[in-house]
Subunit: 234 residues, 2 copies
């Protein structure tokens, strides 16, 4: 059984794999049987060579002269990303953003399932969103059984507390929308999304672009680089 004996994927490849996955779902729904690196690159916004390099990390999946089998690629990419069964998600912070995410129906399609919603405001506890009742953050540890992905959509002052509770409940990955750096144990993986930061980045390329007619930048897929840092030794 020579399964699961591959070097870890490069972080940039992981990020793109997630993007490919999304487009492959669309292609599969459209009854496409095979896809070439060229076309997949076009829809994902990367070069064909990049696609081939990325996919070759999963093994030799394509057929020369033909391309890649959409269904099989979907299966392998999904398995690599750990999307076997529905991954449970819990959301902490039922402000506008938390509600937006709770109501987002794309999660189910992408293999995620919202397990519970939490807020610290007693006024919000008990309210129904997306078929779930909001629970108090005190209940996180009781409600979350085993590993799950936590999503933090609280204001900054509450974010660290939310993270602490999630970690205590066994959550091992956190998507943080609060613009602050959370302290968590080394075995918990965190990704931060900060809309203001995204806008500021756009701001920079905007000013470089105008003035002259010089075209500067074109579109890009949702390519994010995860920086992984080892725990500093004690």
């Amino acid at each position: 059984m020579p399964e699961r004996q591959r070097p870890p994927l490069p972080p940039s490849t992981v990020a793109r794999l997630a993007v490919y996955q999304r487009h492959l779902l669309r292609l599969a729904a459209a009854q496409e049987l095979t896809i070439s690196s060229e076309r997949l690159g076009q829809v994902a916004g990367v070069t064909a060579a990049q696609v081939r390099k990325d996919l070759s990390c999963l093994g030799a999946l394509g057929t020369r002269g033909i391309g890649y089998d959409v269904e099989y690629l979907l299966y392998r990419a999904g398995r690599e990303l750990g999307l076997g069964e529905d991954s449970p998600i819990v959301i902490v912070g039922m402000g506008h953003l938390g509600r937006a995410l709770a109501n987002y129906d794309g999660f189910a399609r992408q293999g995620f399932r919202i397990l519970a919603l939490f807020d610290s405001d007693p006024g919000k506890v008990g309210e129904p969103f997306a078929g779930l009742l909001v629970r108090h953050v005190d209940e996180i540890q009781g409600a979350v059984a085993g590993p799950a992905i936590g999503v933090i959509t609280t204001p900054v002052p509450a974010a660290q507390d939310a993270a602490d509770r999630l970690v205590a409940a066994g959550v091992d990955a956190i998507l943080n929308f609060a613009p602050s750096l959370l302290a968590v144990p080394g075995n918990v993986c965190i990704r931060n999304v900060d809309v203001s930061v995204e806008l500021q980045i756009l701001s920079y390329y905007r000013v470089s672009a105008d003035g002259l007619g010089r075209a500067t930048s074109a579109s890009t897929p949702a390519d994010r680089l995860t920086l992984l840092r080892r725990r500093p030794s004690p």
Copy 2:
């Protein structure tokens, strides 16, 4: 006047500069006068050497033995990112996410100003959010005078149309939350944010981490790599 005569910043530096900016604002509010690369790195989640390299791109801003002047750094970083006066933002798509962003009060603090909100649903047109009335997407071109940053929070099928209208109205940068690759002219800069993709990336590192007690990844700042592609030659 030897102003504005610097090579363009590396994309990864631009992304981090936006993160520094955010923490510098907090430090300035807390009356901190100076900050060392060491401490700024701690709060931003990067190494001290990285901070120094990044900041040295803006010139020699620090004082040896002391650190960086918070106010001055804030000024220079903000200027570099093109945050001089309030940058106008328009949001297209008043679903849950669009409303969440419209109500987000962090934009103003970060130097952005929401100029207008749009939706294609006549039922939503006229509704008030965050002190603005939702207008119909047909009005985009009339309402947006000159360059602005467009934010697309529509469902996928409407995203390209939204982008086209924004571009026609003179918008030169787009933050796209719809999970699709938008086609825009080469002088328009795009960044994509896809929450499902973020979750899938977390998924990967999650599965690598558990099983054994091996710690795998620690936290990371909102570091995103913008891939800039030149327009392919015709």
